[in-house]
Amino acid sequence: MTKSTRLFQNLLLLVFALYALVPVYLVFLAAIRSEADLFSGPLTLSWPINFANFGRIWSEAGFATYFLNSVITAVSVTILVLLTAPLAGFAFAKLRFPGKEILFALFLAGLVVPAPSVIVALYGNLQALGLIDNRIGVILPQAALLMPFSVFMMRTVMQDVPDELIEAAVMDGAGLLKLFLTIVVPVVKPGLMSLGLITFLFAWQEYLLPLVVFQTESLKPLTVGAASLQGRYGVDYGGIAAAGLIAFAPLVVLFLAMQRSFVRGLTAGAVK
């Protein structure tokens, strides 16, 4: 490779790194600056760090509650998906039964179903079930919308479980569920980890469902809270920045800490 080619390549890598990071940096900067010097001075970090914005948003604007709600919803959705999708993935990957192709195609079709296209009917159904303004009314549909992806990914993961392992256990006379829990689950732990992380990420990011289902302020998650803050506190830029940071920092930290697992999950559905 010539020197100029390499230089050009490095420049390209750098430009895109800046594209990715500068907006994040700006939010961070706005969040830790006081109102007075928000628009003054260059784009350097100010010292000492000013936590006033976080305090105000956390306690006065209700972000402690929004945060807790995001945690509750995202964790519930994740647990629900982890309890259901791996079983289905295993059935599709390793078991033989009539109707397998059709049922799998049914899940596959759901991979692309947009939440806004079912909301018209879903909303009425939730109303009839008394689940409007209820956490269950977000958790169940959210898990259901993530199910096609999760089942698809779990099928890919389960295909890698050696058949000999399963056959040996079957000969021992182990029940299928016992076999699944004691033999299969330990082998696919990394896959389950990836699924859990990705489900958590998507559930935390969800906006439309909680927007239409929740009416009570004390049930709303961060995404809805941050969006409404924009209207209510139109000029409190430091506050909105702090709110944004609260809404995405946990995800960024989680991703950086678990990068390997995330990437494995994202590519599991894609490469095969």
């Binding site: 080619t5 390209l12 890598l13 895109f16 790194a17 990715a20 990071l21 907006p23 994040v24 700006l26 939010v27 628009f39 309890l83 259901t84 289905a88 059935a91 033989r96 039964f97 049922l103 049914l106 899940f107 079709a109 991979l111 692309v112 179903v113 947009p114 806004p116 296209s117 079912v118 909301i119 018209v120 009917a121 879903l122 159904n125 259901a144 199910m147 096609p148 999760s150 089942v151 299928l176 699944f180 906006y207 439309l208 239409v212 995404t223 809805v224 941050a226 969006a227 830029y237 944004g244 809404a247 995405f248 995800l251 960024v252 991703f255 990068q259 994202l266 590519t267 894609a270 490469v271």
Partner: protein, 286 residues
């Protein structure tokens, strides 16, 4: 047989959840679309009359056009950028790959609602960083109210969409490149092939599967995205950023026209299913 029954039991929880909260509503929106609705109550069966309204609904056609533009822009920019970056990164050492890969992916972890708020500032006509930057380098004449004028609103939003998406493309492409047999590249190097030639004649053709996957993903996302528009422009100014999902949302929640909102939902469903059916057919071909 025992395993048959167990298989159905294994499927039962996820299938129930899926059919109840996704399958059933899909059938319902199909049904809803054939009726006239009054205040949330189904009235007369009117056949395809709601579908006939689509023809005269200029907002629908504008929205559809914007979705189409969004598909093309996403294929043209983040996908291509992801491919080139991944190909460059593949030659670098593991630490660089890990760090840059993480950096590129960070925007994808940010909820689109928050991304919309962040970029709303950058585009702000009075104190936004974009105008500030343009003035600083002497291009103040180009400064504008990016999200508030019809000519730039959709394109400006697409830059935000690309911001959250290109890192995903990098990661998918990178994983695919790393699974290519290195002997192919070594052979090409021995033949004296340049970086560009290896990229064009080896990397791009071998990544066809990933490109199809990402293309499908991008097209589906382009049809169904909602959060970003809703939190920034709500489809405005005028109808400059109206897309199918915002049109559905407004028709249902603001106008309260259940039948027509269901009709729009059916159109959206048919489009995404048609796109994915097309992509799967392509994927099946060797």
């Amino acid at each position: 047989m025992l395993t048959t029954r167990s298989a159905y039991l294994f499927l039962l929880p996820s299938l129930t959840l899926y059919l109840l909260f996704v399958g059933l509503p899909i059938l319902q929106v199909f049904g809803f679309s054939f009726f006239a609705w009054d205040n949330g109550i189904a009235g007369d069966f009117i056949g395809l009359a709601n579908y006939g309204r689509l023809l005269g609904d200029s907002v629908f056609w504008t929205a559809l056009w914007h979705n189409a533009i969004w598909v093309v822009l996403t294929l043209a920019f983040p996908l291509l950028a992801g491919l080139v970056i991944a190909a460059i990164l593949a030659d670098r050492n593991a630490n660089v790959v890990r760090w840059l890969g993480a950096i590129y992916f960070i925007p994808r972890t940010i909820p689109l609602v928050v991304a919309g708020i962040i970029w709303g500032w950058i585009y702000n006509p009075i104190f936004g960083l974009l105008n500030f930057g343009l003035e600083a380098v002497g291009l103040g004449g180009l400064a504008g109210a990016w999200l508030a004028q019809e000519s730039t609103a959709l394109l400006s939003l697409n830059v935000v969409g690309a911001w959250t998406f290109f890192g995903f493309c990098v990661i998918i492409y990178l994983a695919a490149i790393q699974s290519i047999d290195p002997a192919l590249y070594e052979a090409a190097s021995i033949d004296g092939a340049s970086w560009w030639r290896k990229f064009r004649d080896l990397t791009v053709p071998l990544l066809r599967g990933s490109t199809l996957f990402l293309g499908l993903y991008a097209a589906i996302e382009a049809m169904r995205f909602f959060d970003l528009v809703w939190v920034t422009t709500q489809g405005g100014p005028g109808y400059a950023t109206e897309v199918l999902t915002t049109h559905i949302y407004k028709t249902f929640f603001l106008v309260g026209d259940f039948g027509y909102a269901a009709t729009l939902s059916v159109v959206l469903l048919i489009i995404v299913l048609a796109i994915s059916a097309g992509a799967f057919t392509l994927l099946r071909k060797p």
